[in-house]
Amino acid sequence: MPVKVTIDVMLTRKKLTARDVAARIGLSETQMSLLRTGKIKGMRFDTLARLCYVLDCKPGELIDYDRDAADLTAPGEADV
């Protein structure tokens, strides 16, 4: 999936540790690690909102997308 989580960039820019941010937004360190490495299926809007608040940024600064035509044909929720 070409959607990438770019939290690490924001963490570096804001000079915060993943552990601190995870504690502030109510995620476990494991969940934060999965989020940072993109090993998740999705992010809830409230998690995104908390991240944006703590990192003082917009959602677009936390996630990125590489355009890929295969996304239209990839199996997903819409096909179920």
Binding site: L27, Q31, M32, L34, L35, I40, K41, G42, M43, R44, T47
Partner: protein, 160 residues
């Protein structure tokens, strides 16, 4: 309808107490019936078979009681567990399994072994009572529901 955790705990406890009462009543009833069995004087093996065939009749209600106990555990565990958490799923799956096994015992095991033990017949007999077949399907549905719930829970955990 969303039940409060306390109410769910009380329902679970109530079900478990009910299971205890029903189990005692079942044992009392079956023990009373033991006196009226058709024993053969001097043939110990025939008497053993009669007693064994008699106790086979406790299989289905026994499993139904186990299913009810698992349902009680489902409510009790739902007090502290997440929605469809592992403990709740396990209890729900056990409820379905026990209902299925109980129904299978009533439909197949009991008729087959009763005839085998008492009449010496080696064929297969099936007792297709409406209530047992219905319970079997409800058990299967609950089992599948628990499996689906488990899958959905795993899917949900992949969202942070």
């Amino acid at each position: 309808m969303r039940l409060s955790p306390e109410l769910r705990g009380h329902i679970g406890l109530g079900i478990k107490i009910l299971v205890g009462v029903l189990a005692l009543a079942l044992i009392g009833e079956k023990s009373g019936q033991l006196e009226h069995l058709d024993f053969t004087v001097g043939d110990a093996w025939a008497n053993v078979r009669v007693i064994f065939a008699f106790w086979l009749t406790i299989l289905a209600p026994g499993f139904y009681l186990c299913a009810l106990w698992a349902l009680g555990a489902f409510f009790t565990k739902s007090r502290s567990d997440h929605e469809f958490g592992p403990a709740m799923v396990k209890s729900l799956r056990e409820t379905g399994q026990d209902l299925l096994i109980g129904a299978a015992a009533a439909i197949l095991v009991e008729p087959v072994f009763s005839v085998w033990l008492i009449e010496g017949f080696r064929g297969v007999r099936v007792s297709l009572e409406i209530e047992d077949v219905t319970i079997a399907f409800i058990g299967a549905a609950i089992f599948l529901l628990a499996e689906t719930g488990k899958r959905l829970r795993v899917e949900l955990e992949q969202f942070v």
